[in-house]
């Protein structure tokens, strides 16, 4: 790997360090008792990961560049390989930057929501979760991917359950997710087993070559089905999303912000990777499964989950359902099986992270100041917390897809891709789902800006700390900046899609 801005010695090991630094830091974070020190440690770990991700991202910018890192010097296909191209480099950069911003926000938010003794353990679990996600996004080995998936999942169950001090339902939500997540991971490992059985390798690139040479094998098809469903569950593909609304609604605010911007995205990445690079896109069963199973579910998710969001009165649940609907948009892009569709899906993935990041962070700020989460309690917030409300509004408008926000950009490209594929009905579904989004967002915005505040609200709120205001402003600003100057993210999404397609074995 050509060093970009880091010293060559570090740059050479950047893929491994990106995962190892947070993982190793999690141990001292668990041992110290001060929550604040643990927070700083987590910031260091994630900050380092962000720098490394930027380094990797720059290194893979060249067309067709692939970073292959042999773990411990054991060469693939027998050793574990970290394999990074433009697709996962984009994911890593997204993970690092949104993770870092969310973690800044965690300082005050976690101090408020989680008891003093548990804070350092919480940050430790978070670092493990982060390392797991980074590992999933970088590894080129199917079994290793499963291991990282489990590392991140188990840590996720723990940090979701930490929301119990606000609401006991966090415990059932976490347990539900644990059961479902375990089924998903098991499905994945069964699928990987099937493929290992037929190909004799665990290295994903190697698997791809072996499958291409095989010319049809039922065991591979079954393996594909298991992997698709298992990861689909992790990605909250409708109707396997049932774990998500409660997990998002009752987890600590910071956890929701982090998960909404990263966790489902990483699962979505895994689907792309397997679908394009392990299984060839030209294979009939892959294309048909995408067309006849994933696409209808994507459309159903967009419509049903949006409607469900419309009728929620807990704001975080509302946005959780909206997230399910947004996963539908991404899956729709993937289902089109065109490079335009895939890049539109990737674009929406990035943009959705920006908007949901801003939204959940603003909700966290509201919760910190007033401890509220129901729409009815949002009355008049615009007058007492105008800046936070403005950031929230930007995120909400972006979610709807108002021009000059990133939401518009991704919907625009998605519609273009759908038209290019000749999918009129998909355009209709996107528009209908957007109209529903107008209404559910409108309910909240009206409560915030139009309805006068309650008397109790007049008392001056706790000031929004800088550690929340800065990342929130950055995310809200990103929604606007990239909504006008869309080239960087569009190029990134296109490069990612090209990399995914190019890495596949084309007969």
């Amino acid at each position: 790997m050509e060093p970009q801005f880091l010293p060559a010695a570090i740059a050479a090991h950047a893929p491994a360090l990106l995962v190892m630094i947070p993982l190793i830091l999690s141990a001292p974070a668990a041992m110290i008792t001060s929550g604040r020190a643990a927070w700083v440690m987590a910031l260091l770990g994630v900050g380092a990961a962000l720098v490394l991700a930027a380094e990797i991202f720059l290194a893979t910018r060249a067309e067709g560049a692939v970073l292959s890192y042999a773990m411990g010097g054991w060469e693939p296909p027998f050793g574990i390989e970290f394999r990074i191209d433009a697709l996962n480099a984009a994911l890593l950069l997204l993970l690092g930057s949104t993770g870092f911003l969310a973690l800044l926000f965690a300082g005050p938010s976690v101090a408020d929501e989680i008891s003093r003794q548990k804070q350092s353990l919480f940050y430790s679990a978070f670092l493990i979760c982060f390392a797991g996600l980074a590992g999933v996004a970088s590894t080129g080995d199917a079994f290793n991917l499963f291991v990282f998936l489990e590392i991140s999942s188990i840590a996720t169950y723990a940090i979701i359950a930490m929301g119990w001090s606000n609401d006991r339902q966090a415990l059932t939500a976490s347990f539900n997710y644990l059961v479902m997540g375990t089924i998903g991971a098991t499905f994945f490992v069964i699928g990987a087993g099937f493929i290992y059985m037929s190909t004799g390798t665990l290295n994903m690139a190697d698997m791809g070559r072996a499958i291409a040479e095989m010319n049809g094998n039922r065991a591979v098809e079954v393996g594909f089905a298991f992997i698709l469903v298992g990861i689909g569950l992790k990605a909250a593909l409708f109707p396997l999303h049932q774990w998500l609304p409660n997990a998002y609604a009752y987890a600590p605010n910071f956890v929701t912000t982090f998960l909404a911007t990263t966790a489902t995205k990483i699962a979505f990445y895994v689907i792309i990777r397997f679908r394009y690079d392990v299984f060839s896109i030209q294979t009939g069963f892959v294309t048909n499964a995408m067309l006849w199973v994933i696409t209808p579910l994507a459309i159903a998710g967009m419509l049903v989950a949006s409607t469900q969001a419309l009728f929620q009165n807990n704001v975080r649940r509302l946005f959780a359902y909206s997230s399910v609907a947004q996963v539908g948009y991404m899956m729709l892009g993937l289902g089109m099986a065109t490079s335009l569709g895939l890049s539109a899906g990737m674009l929406h993935l990035t943009n959705h992270a920006m908007m949901k990041g801003a939204l959940f962070m603003a909700l966290g700020a509201f919760a910190l100041s007033y401890g509220i989460r129901r729409i009815a309690d949002f009355k008049g917030l615009g007058q007492v917390m105008p800046m936070t409300s403005a950031a929230f509004t930007i995120g909400a408008l972006s979610l709807v897809g108002v021009p000059f926000t990133v939401g518009f950009i991704s919907k625009f490209y998605l519609i273009q891709a759908a038209l290019d594929a000749g999918w009129w009905w998909a355009v209709a579904a996107i528009l209908i789902s957007s109209v529903i989004a107008v209404f559910y967002v409108y309910r909240i915005l009206v409560a915030i800006w139009v309805t006068p505040p309650n008397e109790a609200r007049k008392a001056s709120p706790k000031r929004v700390p800088l550690a929340i205001a800065v990342p929130l402003a950055i995310l809200a600003g990103a929604n606007l900046v990239f909504g006008v100057w869309a080239e960087p993210i569009v190029d990134m999404a296109r490069a990612a899609a090209d990399a995914a397609i190019a890495a596949g074995v084309n007969p």
Binding site: T172, F175, N176, V179, I183, G184, F187, N215, R218, E221, V222, F224, A225, F226, L228, V229, G232, L233, P239, L240, Q242, W243, P245, N246, T283, G284, F285, T287, N288, A289, W292, V293, L297, V304, T307, Q308, L310, F311, Q312, N314, I375, A376, V402, P403, Q416, L419, W424, V427, L431, V435, V438, F439, Y440, Y442, R443, V446, V450, A486, E487, V490
Partner: protein, 574 residues
């Protein structure tokens, strides 16, 4: 001076208004805001005059798309001019008002209307189209009553729906033709129909019109003036650009011109009466567009141009009356002429222009429409329009000044309207007379050159006959006590009627939008109608789809999905 004009050549006037509006939203000092409110339209006008040759300016390359943000040609320039003048008049009229939100919104709204007129492609048009929706709603909200809040939400829902339809139709259109350029569309393709509906919502086509009568009377006095100028005229422009010569528009326009007759008579609220009169005016323009000949399009443009001024003048007069007395209802007004003589005289000027009395601006434009229709050879429509001119137009025009300033004296002892209002009304009234007398100036602005003489004997005599017939009908109705004198007796609420009549997808969508907006606004407690209740039962937090599923059930789903994928894979070719 020439340097300034040189520098302004090719600068989109909309930018001045929008930037001014943003500035006004930010400025905390009323005085500075008011200066911006006056200066921004003047700068816009300067830019308009500085841009001499038709052409496409302000081209932005956005990836694969080319955005034409400033298309200055015969059709767009006249609409932009009238919008800029209207923005200037509004600035003067609103001088006494101290509201940061409505000042800024009104300017941005006007700027968006100008920008939409100059938009050369659908994407730019869509952006401005939605901006007009977003920034006109605060003018309704500003009234501050619960009724205006709800009406504003309904208004916004419908307007945003129009924008969504526009974008959807444009996307389909672009994919069929491969071009985003906004030009003649026609109704041959489904995309064209969707776009026609999108425009039709804003143009207040029959059955799509109820937002106007709903929202305008609930806006503030100033807000109604601003609202009356832009949205509907912008829609007429879009129709003229996209659907010139579409036969169905003649029928639609004729219906629009006639159907308000009942409402004009029984309506108690004078501002709502004016909203119906606006419907009738729009009908004439839509007919002109439907005829589609150069004369027809000229007629539509000329009507839009002068219509802005006399409708604004009427709404201004009503705003002044409301400002002093706090009401605009027939049953509560009367005999104001003694207290507000200047406003009274000016409103009569507006009324005369509205009915098309010779020497007033309405005359030289209304005769254009009638001529265009008669050359087109559609005698039925001609007869309908003559009836509409005598019936609807004149009844509304006579009703407003009569019941506000004459009629039964209700004993108001109020001051004359504030000076700035008088000034704005005076300017509008001046334009109404000036354009009627110097019609060559108006005709010179029209998109197509033509040789037309409005003051011919048969035109004048015909119009005077119409006027006399209308005046007679009005006198008869006053004598028969057909006008409401004792209070709200509006039995047929247009909203209610049209929501029930609702048919067609958009009607349904609009009504659902209203329902949903209502539900949103009042929270989940109020669930309107059986449909919403069913949805609610299914989707609400306590509903069957949102219940916390037992993990077992979710596991079954996983299995079902796995089976589905395996089956699909099994039956797929290798």
């Amino acid at each position: 001076m020439t340097d300034l004009f040189g520098a302004l050549h090719g600068v989109n006037p909309a930018l001045f208004l929008i930037l001014g509006g943003v500035l006004a939203l930010a400025l905390p000092w009323a005085l500075a805001r008011k200066a911006v409110m006056i200066a921004a339209p003047l700068l816009g006008l300067a830019a308009w005059f500085a841009t001499r040759e038709p052409g496409v300016y302000g081209v932005i390359e956005l990836g694969p798309m080319t955005l034409e943000t400033f298309r200055y040609d015969g059709l767009s320039r006249i609409w932009a001019l009238v919008f800029l003048l209207a923005a200037f008049l509004n600035g003067i009229y609103a001088l006494h008002e101290r509201s940061r939100i409505s000042d800024g919104s009104a300017l941005i709204y006007a700027g968006a209307a100008v920008g939409a007129v100059f938009a050369g492609d659908f994407l730019t048009l869509f952006v401005y189209w939605e901006l007009t929706a977003l920034f006109s709603a605060p003018l309704i909200f500003a009234a501050g009553t619960p009724a205006s809040q709800r009406a504003g939400l309904r208004y916004l829902a419908i307007q945003v729906l129009s924008g969504v339809l526009l974008l959807g139709g444009a996307a389909v259109w672009a994919s069929q033709t491969g071009s985003w350029t906004f030009d003649a569309i026609g109704t041959d393709s489904p995309a064209g129909l969707v776009l026609l509906i999108a425009f039709g919502i804003k143009a207040a086509f029959p059955l799509l019109h109820m937002w106007m009568q709903d929202a305008y009377p609930k806006a503030t006095g100033v807000g109604a003036v601003v609202l009356s100028a832009f949205t509907t005229k912008l829609a007429v422009y879009a129709l003229a650009r996209g659907f010139a010569g579409t036969e169905i528009l003649i029928t639609i326009g004729a219906i629009m011109a006639v159907f308000p007759i009942l409402f004009v008579i029984v309506e108690n609220d004078l501002r709502r009466t004016l909203a119906y009169a606006l419907n009738n005016q729009l009908g004439f323009m839509v007919v002109g567009v439907g005829v589609g000949t150069p004369l027809g399009l000229n007629a539509a443009a000329a009507n839009a141009f002068v219509g802005v001024f006399y409708m604004a003048l009427m709404f201004m007069a009503m705003g002044a009356v409301m400002h002093r007395t706090g009401t605009a209802k027939v049953s509560e007004l009367g005999g104001l002429f003694r207290s507000m003589p200047i406003t009274g005289v000016l409103s009569i000027v507006g009324a005369l222009a509205l009915v098309g009395a010779p020497l007033f601006s309405g005359f030289v434009t209304k005769t254009l429409v009638l001529s265009a229709v008669s050359y087109h050879g559609d005698m039925l429509v001609y007869a309908v329009l003559v009836f509409a001119a005598a019936g609807v137009m004149e009844l509304s025009a006579l009703k407003v000044p009569f019941f506000a300033f004459f009629g039964k004296d209700r004993g108001y002892k109020v001051k004359e309207a504030p000076l700035n209002m008088l000034l704005a009304m005076g300017l509008a009234a001046f334009l109404c007379i000036y354009l009627g007398a110097h019609w060559q100036a108006l005709y010179g602005l029209l998109p197509f050159a033509m040789d037309y003489q409005p003051y011919t004997a048969d035109n004048v005599i015909g119009q005077v006959q119409i006027l006399l017939a209308g005046a007679f009908a009005f006198a008869l109705m006053v004598w028969l006590n057909l006008f409401p004198l004792r209070g709200d007796r509006t039995i047929l609420d247009a909203d209610w009627l049209y929501r029930r009549v609702g048919d067609g997808v958009v009607r349904w969508g609009g009504a659902m939008g209203v329902l949903l907006a209502g539900a949103s606004e009042r929270g989940l407690g109020v669930v309107i109608g059986r449909w919403t209740r069913r949805l609610f039962n299914l989707f609400s937090p306590a509903g069957s789809l949102s219940r916390i599923f037992p993990s077992g059930l979710m596991a079954i789903w996983t299995g079902v999905l796995l089976a589905a994928v395996v089956l699909v894979a099994y039956f797929s070719p290798l």
